[in-house]
């Protein structure tokens, strides 16, 4: 099936298979860092932004992307670089495999929440699992990035 998707501000004609999920379509298009970690919508690795909202692309049909702004890590390079600085300062980057989905969620959160509490931050990010860091370093980095005291 041919559909039109707007990815990182660029309109693309995309051929998808029946029932194909957005994650696999994006990957085929070369967005390699849209990763898949669990196949059950539990880990958050495949998160992309749909109209600015963090969305699990492994459980969102590709056709759901029609008419929406799809943003991957590449579409947020300025914010990604800013967040990468604070995250690496904490040493909380570790294996990096969960970083793309996590980073996009953090960027969306910064736009959505005004002066959030720590609990609100944790709640927003709960769906993004990480097995390396124990979450504390990520939280320190997020607080710096969000300018939360």
């Amino acid at each position: 099936m041919e559909i039109k998707l707007k990815i990182n501000g660029i309109n693309k004609e995309v051929t998808i298979k029946d029932g194909e999920y957005l994650q696999s379509a994006l990957k085929r298009l070369g967005f390699l860092n849209v990763r898949k970690g669990c196949e059950t919508g539990s880990c958050g690795l495949c998160t992309v932004l749909l109209n600015g909202k963090p969305t699990l692309s492994c459980s969102t049909l590709a056709v759901r992307g029609i008419g929406k702004e799809i943003t991957t890590l590449e579409g947020e390079s300025v914010e990604v670089a800013k967040f990468a600085e604070v995250l690496t300062d904490e040493g909380a980057d570790q294996c990096g495999y969960c970083s793309p989905g996590f980073t996009l969620t953090v960027i969306a959160m910064k736009r959505e929440l005004e002066s959030p509490t720590i609990d609100e931050i944790k709640h927003y990010l709960t769906g993004n699992l990480c097995r390396c860091t124990g979450y504390m370093g990520q939280l320190r980095a997020v607080k710096k990035y969000m300018e939360v005291k």
Binding site: F83, A84, T88, G91, C95, Y97, H123, Y135
Partner: protein, 767 residues
């Protein structure tokens, strides 16, 4: 010091977060790989009576289907350990018998996933179903024998396959029975630690292809590239010189990727078809068909005086290795090696068996037996303290091994020379941890409301740093023509930051910024030998090799300059950036580097350092947990965890801190949530992150970390290891905190609300 001891950013961090192509799946593009999938057994134990692939093979796009009839019957282990592998050789590529739900039955390769899955459905397998062994406590002398054929073992560690025993261990010093008999108080309890799933975010993946020199190239997410080369060579009968293993960035390992559970399958497809092949495990296969932590039941007997002096420590262990014996004996022996030296008892013993069952194979997992042993021993010490009505930190003050003391079990093998504990600040770690958690105010518990209670609990532990007398690593440094260095190491950075740590060490000696040292840790053709990233050996073993190479480099640069300039070496001073000559002249490293490799010098400087240790100096951690228990539901909530660590010199405080936080969190998972469940027929049902709960960021409470550095004389800049030790205290400290809050001692992990609540109700009932 300029670079050691600084919280320098991970050298690969910015690239990874910005999403640069770095992992196996990112770089394995453009080869038109065949898709490889494995048909797996639906039965826990069965014999394949007949297998028919005729119809499946006719599907267009299928390149090959291999069954046990098509492959060598050579036996091997997939454990990634130094040669000779101390795990029983009890596997085949494919066999007539299948020994757990998920065991490999056939290898199918075709042009794409749909084709392969279609063919998979058309393979007809006739099974003779056998009675499985699904309870490890009933495995010994069960009427079902899981391996009827004697496995090859590189030495005798008690494999009695006809009794379903994969290995046995005995570590003893002194007369345990006599000391127990003399003791005022003897306690005895059994503790059960469950199997655990590594849960790294990147699933297992390997791709293979033949290159232009007709060599087998393997790109794999692995902790052990050099062992993978040896495995594949031996199993598939390909000369080692014809194999190249490339290890890209690894998306987490935690010991899972210390076993090579899948590289042989695509390699075999490539060998058979001549074509590139790719095997990617999905999350279910990653959970079910690789390895887990060894489930264990540990019975601890402690004998003590009424003043709390421990006379005897006696631990009997039973370990479940599942269908195959990967790391069976080594993990088990570490239970004893990392528990017996902790306390200054007159007699101590660890003994027991590792058994085969028809369950997912167990293997290496961060902590490697010390985790299981620590849960049992530290819980027992806490129970002893309770029995003696003593503060559990005080009983430790009285008994813990101290820096400078000689300890006969510290060397793993009794009979060898006793070892002096060169470095330990564990006593300071305990003092500081108590302050951090507010021990004196909060111990043992505080009642928050009629339905909520908070308790605090503690545990201490040790690990090793590398394996003495075995682990040996090399590092090579090259001074490039433009005045920067390439550092070649074979240790595998899987996120922990060892590439950065070794770069810091080299930078320290070479007096250059870390950015001038390019670390390459990728390729078995290029990098010098290293056993890989395991046994807490990265910083300690590889680090020492790096120091040797770097010192040699400084020497050779000065020597090389002396020759070119015709000035005696003692008149040249090297400050990293330039060479300062006695007559006041200064020549930059860039210039000298160029002149050395060019016609004038004809001297490309490359140095290599190789290092292996005679001891495995232990790092220590004191862990303190504060939990809140809901007395109506039994739910345990993590409030605070204070961890104080002695890892010798802290090379990179930021990365070390994250190691501690990550390890503690993984330990919290082990303590409270993580549980592998099987159905009655032996099929793992917690095979996704839906059913298998690793902690999320709302589950871990606050984790606070501090260091109490010691100085380890054999370590690089005084450093010891850190990666593993940090996982071990969470479970016993939390179990103690729960017991202090509720009076309910849970001896079977995980500490679920059901167990706590049942304990509370039973106590009420019996009162």
């Amino acid at each position: 010091m300029g670079y050691v001891g600084k919280g320098i950013k991970k050298i690969d961090g910015m690239g990874l977060i910005k999403g640069a192509s770095s992992y196996t799946e990112d770089i394995a593009l453009g080869h038109n790989y065949l898709t490889v999938k494995l048909l797996r057994s639906p039965h826990a134990f069965a014999r394949i009576k007949n297998i028919n692939t005729t119809i499946a093979s006719k599907i267009e796009g299928i390149e090959c289907i291999l069954t046990y009839k098509d492959v060598t019957d050579k036996r091997f282990t997939l454990a990634g350990q130094s040669f000779p592998e101390p795990s029983p050789h009890d596997r085949r590529i494919l066999g007539e018998y299948v020994r757990y739900v998920g065991d490999e039955v056939a290898i199918i390769a075709g042009t794409d996933e749909e084709t392969v899955l279609k063919a998979m459905k058309l393979i007809k397998v006739d099974y003779e179903i056998l009675e499985p062994v699904l309870d490890f406590e009933k495995a010994i002398d069960h009427k079902s024998i899981i391996h009827t054929e004697k496995p090859y073992t590189s030495f005798n560690y008690g494999n009695e396959h006809m009794r379903n025993i994969a290995a046995q261990d005995l570590l003893v010093e002194g007369d345990v029975e006599k000391e127990l008999a003399k003791s005022d108080v003897v306690i005895e309890h059994s503790y059960h630690t469950q199997a655990q799933i590594h849960g790294m975010m990147e699933n297992y993946i390997a791709v293979t292809y033949m290159d232009f020199q007709d060599r087998m190239n393997i790109i794999s997410s692995t902790q052990i590239p050099f062992h993978v080369r040896r495995h594949v060579s031996k199993i598939l009968d390909i000369p080692r010189s014809k194999i190249k293993v490339i290890k890209p960035r690894v998306g987490g390992g935690f010991g899972g990727k210390q076993t090579a559970p899948m590289e042989i399958y695509p390699a075999l497809v490539t060998k058979v078809t001549g074509k590139p092949a790719k095997l990617v495990y999905n999350r279910k296969e990653t959970h079910t068909c690789t390895t887990t932590r060894h489930e264990m039941k540990l019975t601890v007997k402690l004998g003590a005086t009424k003043d709390g002096i421990i006379n005897a420590v006696d631990i009997h262990g039973l370990s479940n290795t599942g269908a195959y014996g990967e790391h069976a004996w080594t993990v088990f022996s570490v239970v004893g090696q990392k528990t017996l030296p902790m306390y200054r008892a007159k007699a101590r013993r660890f003994y027991g068996e590792v058994v085969y069952t028809n369950m997912t194979t167990a293997g290496a997992f961060r902590g490697y037996g010390a985790t299981q042993g620590t849960f049992a021993l530290e819980s027992a010490v806490n129970e002893l303290a309770k029995k003696l009505d003593m503060d559990s930190s005080v009983i430790r003050e009285k008994n813990l091994v101290k820096q400078g003391e000689v300890n006969p079990t510290l060397n793993s093998f009794v009979g060898e020379k006793s070892i002096v504990l060169d470095s330990s600040t564990l006593d300071e770690c305990i003092t500081r941890g108590k302050e951090m958690i507010g021990w004196d105010k909060k111990y043992p518990m505080q009642k928050i409301s009629p339905t909520k209670a908070r308790g605090v609990g503690m545990a201490v532990t040790m690990q090793g740093s590398g394996i003495h007398g075995i682990d040996t690593a090399s590092a090579t440094l090259k001074l490039n023509d433009d005045g920067f260095y390439t550092l070649l190491v074979g240790v595998s950075d899987m996120g922990q930051g060892c590439d950065t740590v070794v770069a810091q060490m080299a930078a320290e000696i070479l007096c250059v910024p870390v950015s001038k040292i390019i670390v390459n840790s990728t390729d078995t053709d290029v990098n010098p030998y290293d056993p890989g990233a395991y046994a807490s050996s990265g910083t300690y073993v590889t680090g020492n090799a790096v120091i040797k190479a770097a010192n040699l480099m400084v020497e050779k640069i000065v020597g090389g300059a002396s020759k070119i300039l015709n000035i005696p070496e003692e008149d040249i001073e090297f400050n990293g950036e330039s060479l300062l000559l006695k007559d006041g002249k200064e020549i930059s490293l860039d210039e000298i580097a160029y002149r050395l490799v060019a016609y004038e010098g004809q001297n490309q400087i490359i140095t290599t350092g190789t290092w292996g240790g005679h001891t495995s100096p232990p790092p220590f951690i004191a862990g303190f947990a504060e939990v809140e228990v809901d007395l109506e539901t039994g739910k345990v909530e993590m409030i605070d965890y204070a961890a104080v660590v002695d890892c010798g010199t802290v090379i990179n405080p930021n990365l070390a801190r994250i190691q501690v936080e990550g390890g503690v969190a993984q330990g919290i998972g082990l303590a409270l949530f993580e549980d592998i469940k099987y159905d009655a027929k032996g099929k793992m049902i917690s095979d996704t992150f839906m059913q298998y709960k690793i902690p999320s960021r709302c589950d871990v409470g606050e984790i606070r970390v501090e260091f109490k550095p010691s100085f380890e004389h054999t370590g690089p800049f005084g450093a010891k290891s850190i990666g593993e030790v940090v996982i071990n205290t969470s479970a016993p400290a939390i179990a103690d905190a729960v017991a202090n809050a509720t009076g309910v001692r849970v001896r079977t992990l995980p500490i679920t609300p059901e167990k706590v609540l049942m304990g509370i109700l039973n106590t009420k009932h019996s009162n």
